[in-house]
């Protein structure tokens, strides 16, 4: 057996599974988004579903909301994760506990975190009760609205809570692989602590940070259960809107759901390209 055919044989099962499920699934979604559904007598593909989706004000507002959620969550989580990673490189009392908690958090499913966050920060949640006991508020209505709110603060808080550990772990692994040497060298060459960070450490951390951020952005953009639990009635996050359209008993709404899925996939592809670039410069793939 030649090397080539051996490699092909080794890859075949994985490619078969992903091709059969993932690519075919995407293809089917694409077909249906063009309103090609022979079972329902639709055999003339057209772009009506895309027109309907893109001209509906609901879709654009949902798209805006989802982009906002993903951008804000990723930016805040990435910044805090950098700080946390730098902190965890140093020794301080309780370091073991913090690193345990960070890993613990990684294993908690999003849906559990979302429910916990709801109980914590809603207007009648634990914080509101503490504020009431401290005499800061007279009732729930005085507590800032952090869930079902127009700025999706509760959703962003949850993603920051959940993704901060994820990015931190990736950064720590990268930093560990780099060792302390570069930074120390820079310091001995007269760089200030800030210069050493900005000119040496940060550029070294950046590829890992970018790759992790792309993953986090994609997740925060496309997750369903978190906005379902913490989101407002309107506008809905894009995945919630798409799922609702897909479950509309009016069949006409279904191609629109598929069109939304395709548009979401398109945004995902852009992220994939970004990730691939970041990963390549990191030499990890």
């Amino acid at each position: 057996m030649t090397d080539r055919s051996r490699i092909a044989l080794m890859l075949a099962p994985a490619l078969l599974v992903l091709g059969g499920l993932f690519l075919t699934g995407l293809g089917l979604t694409l077909l249906r988004s063009f309103r090609y559904m022979p079972a329902l007598g639709l055999t003339e593909p057209d772009l009506a579903a895309y027109t309907a989706v893109l001209t509906a004000p609901g879709f654009l507002r949902s798209l805006g909301l989802s982009l906002w959620i993903a951008t804000a969550s990723t930016a805040i989580a990435a910044l805090l994760a950098m700080a946390a990673a730098l902190l965890l490189r140093q020794s301080f009392p309780g370091r073991a506990l913090v690193s345990f908690l960070i890993q613990l958090n990684l294993t908690v499913p999003h849906i559990v975190g979302a429910i916990g966050m709801l109980y914590l920060v809603s207007q009648s949640g634990s914080f509101a009760r503490l504020a009431k006991a401290a005499g800061l508020i007279a009732g729930p209505q005085d507590f800032p609205a952090l869930t079902q709110d127009p700025w999706a603060i509760g959703i962003i808080l949850l993603y920051v809570w959940k993704e901060l550990p994820f990015i931190t772990l990736i950064l720590l692994a990268n930093l560990q692989a780099l060792g302390e040497d570069h930074e120390a060298t820079a310091r001995t060459l007269g760089a200030t602590r800030w210069q050493a960070f900005a000119h040496v450490l940060l550029p070294l951390m950046l590829p890992g940070l970018m790759a992790a951020s792309a993953l986090v952005f994609a997740f925060a953009f496309g997750a369903y259960e978190v906005p379902l639990i913490l989101g407002a009635h309107a506008p809905k996050a894009l995945p919630v809107l798409a799922w609702q359209a897909a479950n509309d008993t009016d069949l006409a709404a279904r191609p629109e759901a598929m069109a939304m899925a395709v548009l979401i996939a398109g945004i995902g592809l852009v992220l994939l390209a970004l990730y691939a670039r970041a990963a390549r410069s990191r030499h990890v793939d």
Partner: protein, 404 residues
């Protein structure tokens, strides 16, 4: 547990006798249907949010089915019946006509209309059920589900009538009618809200306002009338937009589900909650979720009542067993059991007078939960349910003009 896991893995192995052919069943006697049903499994998709209702189904109903008919009842908890309508629809689209995953659905209203319109329901068999005689099909509120004729496509299970809940310790004198409620809302800013449609209960609240705006239900009965809708909806949106600044969070957002409204009520963020099934109030108090001082009330200009049903999809492979389940649910004994306050407190869908004497005395002995307004009290001012097309138009209009 491992046996049930294995059963799940071997999926179709559970279907000993495939009874997907509904027409064949319709040609049989009831005894033959029961014979076919023996050893079958019924996947019953129903709202699963109440542990007491779950306990009734998994306990009383499932045990009787096992003991009397060797039928295994698999209760599948769901959050929204619309998802299941969609699932059956998707199965039909994919050509799954005799091996569907759903054998029985707890359903009514627009979901029933959708199923009937898309030919997703198994129909024309209900008169075969021996306990069908307990149902008063002459009652239009039973023979029509949100104005859509039932036509032997579903079997009634419960009757309900919309009621409001309040905390008697905080609001001892709740408003008596819709006009008074609207005034109360304006006088007490931030203390009221309603779930945004398509939430089932929020949509029902909207219909109360709609009927109020129309000056009563009489002109709205019958099929959808666009001119009438335009006239009444304009008034309705005006009322709702007028109260919006006085709602919880100044109407900037609405709860998405009745559960969120219940939560707001539990924590004293709003002063009223409401439900189609007032028995839920008693269950919430018993679960410790709501204060003991919770009481409930209707409106003197009436609240909407309706019936909910169970339905067998056209592609259920276990139709015979599902029919036996429906028949059992309809029996005087099963209806009495779920009417008991400590079990569920649900109002029966059958004529009590047609049941056996001991069942009748059982019903007579029931004492309703103090937080639940007795059905007889509510029934003094009842409104009919509007047809499903009105409902869809109201929900759509609300999203465009009020809840945007």
């Amino acid at each position: 547990m491992f046996r049930s896991l294995a059963a799940l893995l071997l999926l179709s192995a559970a279907a000993l006798a495939d009874t997907s052919d509904g027409d064949a069943l319709k040609g049989m006697t009831w005894e033959q249907v029961v014979d076919q049903a023996r050893g079958g499994t019924v996947n019953w998709f129903m709202w699963g949010g109440s542990d007491t209702i779950n306990a009734y189904v998994d306990g009383y109903v499932a045990e009787r089915l096992k003991a009397d008919y060797d039928i295994t009842l698999n209760r599948v908890p769901i959050t929204d019946a619309a998802d299941i309508v969609n699932q059956v629809l998707t199965e039909k689209e994919a050509g799954v006509t005799d091996a569907g995953s759903v054998d029985l659905i707890w359903i009514n209203g627009e979901n029933f209309r959708s199923m009937k319109q898309a030919d997703l329901a198994f129909c024309g068999y209900t008169a075969m059920l021996p306990n069908d005689g307990l149902v008063n099909w002459d009652n239009p509120a039973v023979a029509n589900d949100f104005g859509v004729p039932v036509d032997g496509c579903e079997v009634p299970w419960n009757t309900v009538q919309f009621a409001f809940a309040h905390d008697s310790a905080k609001t001892p004198e709740p408003p008596a009618d819709m006009a008074a409620l609207l005034d109360w809302i304006k006088a007490n800013p931030g203390r009221f809200t309603y779930p945004a449609p398509p939430d089932f209960t929020g949509s029902a609240f909207l219909r109360h306002v709609f009927i109020h705006a129309a000056g009563g239900p009489d002109s709205l009965l019958g099929p959808f009338d666009q001119a009438k809708f335009d006239e009444v909806s304009a008034k309705t949106w005006a009322i709702l937009n007028e109260i919006e600044p006085s709602l919880w969070r100044e109407g900037a957002t609405y709860p998405t589900t009745v559960t969120q409204l219940n939560e707001l009520f539990a924590n004293g963020e709003v002063d009223f909650s409401f439900n189609y099934d007032p028995a839920q109030f008693g269950l919430a108090v018993e679960a410790g979720t709501w204060p003991d001082t919770t009481r409930s009330f209707g409106l003197s200009d009436g609240t909407i009542g309706n019936t909910n049903y169970t339905l067998i999809p056209f592609n259920s492979p276990n139709k015979a067993a599902a029919m036996v389940v429906q028949n059992l649910l309809l029996s005087g004994e099963a209806q009495l059991e779920k009417a008991k306050t400590e079990v569920w407190g649900a109002a029966p869908a059958i004529e009590i007078a047609r049941t056996a004497p001991e069942v009748q005395s059982g019903f007579a002995a029931i004492k309703t939960h103090p937080s639940v307004i007795p059905a007889s009290e509510l029934a003094k001012a009842a409104l009919p349910e509007l047809q499903a097309d009105w409902l869809t138009a109201i929900e759509k209009g609300w999203m465009e003009t009020v809840g945007n």
